[in-house]
Amino acid sequence: MSLRLGAYESVIGLEVHAELLTASKIFCGCSAAFGAPPNQHTCSVCLGMPGMLPVLNRRVVEFAVRAGLATHCRIAPVSRWARKNYFYPDLCKGYQISQYELPICEAGWIDVPLEGGAKRVRLTRIHMEEDTGKNIHDAHGGGSLVDFNRSGVPLLEIVSEPDLTWPAEAGAYLRTLRSILQYLQICDGNMEEGSFRCDANCSVRPRGATALGTKVEIKNMNSFRAVERAIAYELERQVRVLEEGGTLVQETRLWDPDREETRPMRSKESAHDYRYFPDPDLPPLALPASFVEDVRRTLPELPDARRARFVSALGLPDYDAEVLTARRDLADYFEAVVAAHPNAKAASNWVMGDILRLVREQRLDDAPTITRWPVTAAHLGALIALIDGGTISGKIAKTVFEDMLGSGDAPAEIVERRGLVQVSDEGPIVAAIDRVLAANATKVEEYRGGKDKLFGFFVGQVMKATGGKANPGLVNDLLKRKLAG
């Protein structure tokens, strides 16, 4: 994607809303699961009935601290809850409980891998808040309905500094951030279901200027691709306006994926004054250092560390390690294959080759987490073990693999059922060689007369005669001896 920014340069900052994978909601005991029939996961608290009060789900705090530690944030010993006040039918209390002045995490960073090397992107803050319900329009005879299942589902809002320049960097940042949250097992990262949402703040300024230009916020982007395209569109639009002598207004614009453009959502005149103030229903959140340390101890290995370990401990090339650790589920699968049979490079070749190809073909990676693999890690490990143990050749292994995909059987069973065990007895191989040489006397003469290239032909004939089961190394040795004979 090439951008036409002329004499301008772009500045991008991103706000991510990540829905947390807690079992229950942030301030009540209702299920936080996605996809139930409307208003099934609700109670008096998350419906904002009169007199109801919030009680904090400690798990949400733990998840927020996990995210903060994994992104090198400072964890606030005391943070505070605030009310963000505005009217909307999906906001049942008329305010959203969020954090404002004192968020739980501040001043972090993540390293985003880019083609020219990693770029460090700073995080301004991470704070906890409750999600709203969802308005459903025109579903029943033109009226609007509200589904409050999502009301009170816990969210982390993760705000970056305006450290990003290009749409592709924004995409890479989001992928990296999502991968971290997935590694932490606190968010499933599903953009389409809205469990990982992104708003982008974009501005342009004359090249080399230090002051920031007028900021425009873009909303309604539900894929990484949409984020990149929306930002690209918006940056070019801003440059166009400036080049035509116009001025930009600070506003919120919506991305229209069908028309591939951004459009103003609300004008400045009706901009909200959210009247933030500390929520009197929730005491300040004090986190003892021991709590933070306990969370730190339970942090899983993060992508950076895992990539390094795949290189140093498993001896994988950098490229393999990078591909395999990009997703936690993929890295977990790969490690399970290695656990079944310790040949990391062979496992890497199979996973990065046939497995990833099939995952993409079968669109198994559309789900936020791949739970169904073309073959199980145990079976793939067993297949590699059969090759390494000399039971089957690499060529036969492809046949066995194809069978595994269809039958789901263990590779050893398939080899047995189909009689694919590699022949390593000299007797039958010698017999086959003799038959092949006898049937091709002319070619034998030509070979002996110096036409070395014919060796491959003889190997192929012998393999064919043995149904592909002959041990290729043995065939080579014996054939050389016979032809020399």
Partner: protein, 496 residues
């Protein structure tokens, strides 16, 4: 008469079998029927449920199992407190017909203790007011003089107890809403320490100030009720996890409870504007305590004069947010056939809220607005801290602080209704206690020339309910003010 019994006496007779809960409840219901045309204390009378609960209480008393401290005792509940299956309106049109599917924690605690709930009582709309004139369902009248207000916002609670419609009632106190009506109607009212009693299920006015407490005939009953209401509630994050002391034991000493009690009299609470009879009665009450062995000294709460201003920034700020949920979308009133979402909000809230509620929503919205937050809300929070520190300093040398409750006795209906500032000043002597989160009790200590009751306020340090109860009981044991009852208004109608 049955209606004049205290809880302690009634409970004793019920246990001895000298009295049945059904008879006691019938007496209360009859009394409501006879007097409420004049008083307008009840918004909802739950006669059938009350008689059923009374019958169950009698069965329990007969078996001698499942008898709680309030078994068979008729009690009224302020209509800002949720009662499962019983209309709960907060005296507002916007919640007309609203029936909660849950009990407030204090409601469950009353029921678990065996209480018979006779109904829901009137108050200022969303507990915003000092006279009960802000109810959408008409003013409650003071049984001592039907032309006068019972005080607010728990005016229905106070009137019902004073007039014998219930043996006790629950009220809420955000700026004096239990204490002022208790003083105006000559009964005992207790506002506990913030966090002592759960707010779960209590319709919020100003969350950092609201607290539920009892209104009762005497200090002993107030202590008994507090024992039932107090305690940690995991459903209210501001409720404090702290053991509940034996309040009955705290008052067992009677007059002797005043012995060597250090009593502070803050000079700012005896300043200009105080009705002379009120000052005389409260100083005389302090002397009663001194005569019983207490040690009096003058003290100062220098930031008192900023209390009302501070309160009228913070409480409306919280209220503007707390009342945002009444939007016509999910429950309560909805304006018919609105053309747009904005119209729906505007029409619903225009029709559903009364003048004072709108005034406070506007005030609160203003002080939280961008550009004004620091000047008003933040400044008021700082003032609140100074007021709290004032009290801390006085309690370094005092066990309790004794003050008047209000500058005057009950005023006439309509007298201040058109002057909000004059109305706000009725709370000048009670608001500091809420801002500091302290416990305070009010007990009758005299009558003015018109025969209207005068109240005495005794304030304690945080979680000092035992000491304020002890001091109040000592005073009560040495005097007869608590035995006075208002004239019978049975069969009378409200004056025009």
């Amino acid at each position: 008469m049955l209606n004049d019994l205290t809880i302690a006496t009634a409970a004793k007779r019920l246990r001895r079998g000298e009295l049945s809960a059904v008879d006691l409840t019938r007496a209360a219901l009859d009394r409501i029927a006879a007097t409420d045309l004049a008083l307008n204390a009840f918004l909802t009378v739950t006669a059938d449920a009350a008689l059923a609960a009374a019958a169950a209480a009698d069965a329990a008393l007969k078996r001698g199992v499942g008898v709680g401290p309030l078994t068979g005792i008729p009690i009224a509940i302020k209509d800002v407190i949720a009662t499962k299956g019983v209309r709960t309106t907060a005296a507002s049109k916007i919640l007309d017909g609203f029936v909660p599917s849950y009990d407030a924690t204090v409601t469950s605690r009353l029921k678990d203790a065996g209480a018979v709930i006779v109904g829901k009582v009137n108050c200022d709309e969303f507990a915003m007011g000092s006279s009960n004139e802000n109810s959408a369902y008409g003013v409650t009248r003071n049984p001592w003089d039907l032309a006068r207000v019972p005080g607010g916002s728990s005016g229905g609670s106070a009137a019902s107890v004073a007039a014998g419609q219930a043996l006790a009632a629950l009220g809420t106190d955000t700026g004096g809403s239990i204490r002022l009506p208790a003083a105006y109607t000559g009964i005992v009212g207790l506002k506990p320490t913030y966090g002592r009693v759960s707010r779960f299920g209590v319709i919020a006015y100003a969350s950092s100030l609201d607290q539920v407490g009892p209104l009762a005939r005497d200090v002993t009953d107030a202590a008994l009720l507090l024992g039932v209401l107090a305690g940690h509630d995991p459903r209210d994050s501001t409720s404090v996890d702290r053991p509940v002391p034996d309040y009955a034991a705290a008052i067992a000493g009677g007059v002797a409870g005043a012995h060597s009690l250090r009593v502070a009299l803050p000079r700012e609470y005896f300043g200009a504007g105080l009705q002379p009879e009120v000052e005389r009665a409260v100083r005389a009450a302090a002397d009663v305590l001194r005569d019983a062995g207490a040690v009096l000294h003058e003290a100062s709460l220098p930031h008192t004069e900023y209390g009302v201003a501070c309160y009228y920034v913070l409480a409306p700020a919280e209220a503007s947010s707390n009342l945002a949920r009444y939007d016509g979308i999910r429950y309560g009133l909805r304006a018919p056939s609105a053309a747009s979402l904005l119209d729906l909000y505007r029409d619903t809230r225009e029709a559903g809220f009364g003048r004072e509620v709108k005034r406070r929503i506007m005030l609160g919205t203003y002080v939280l607005s961008s550009g004004y937050y620091d000047a008003y809300y933040l400044k008021a929070q700082k003032v609140r801290t100074l007021i709290r520190r004032d009290f801390e300093r006085v309690f370094a040398d005092a066990d309790v602080i004794v003050t008047p409750v209000a500058p005057t006795t009950a005023f006439r209906i309509g007298e201040k209704a058109t002057d909000p500032l004059a109305m706000y000043l009725s709370d000048v002597l009670t608001i500091g206690v809420n801002l500091a989160g302290l416990p305070a009790i009010v007990a009758p200590c005299g009558r003015d020339a018109s025969g209207l009751p005068i109240g005495l306020q005794i304030v304690g340090p945080p979680f000092g309910e035992e000491i304020v109860l002890r001091a109040a009981r000592a005073f009560e044991a040495a005097t007869d003010w608590h035995a006075l009852r208002p004239p019978d208004v049975a069969g009378r109608e409200a004056p025009p």
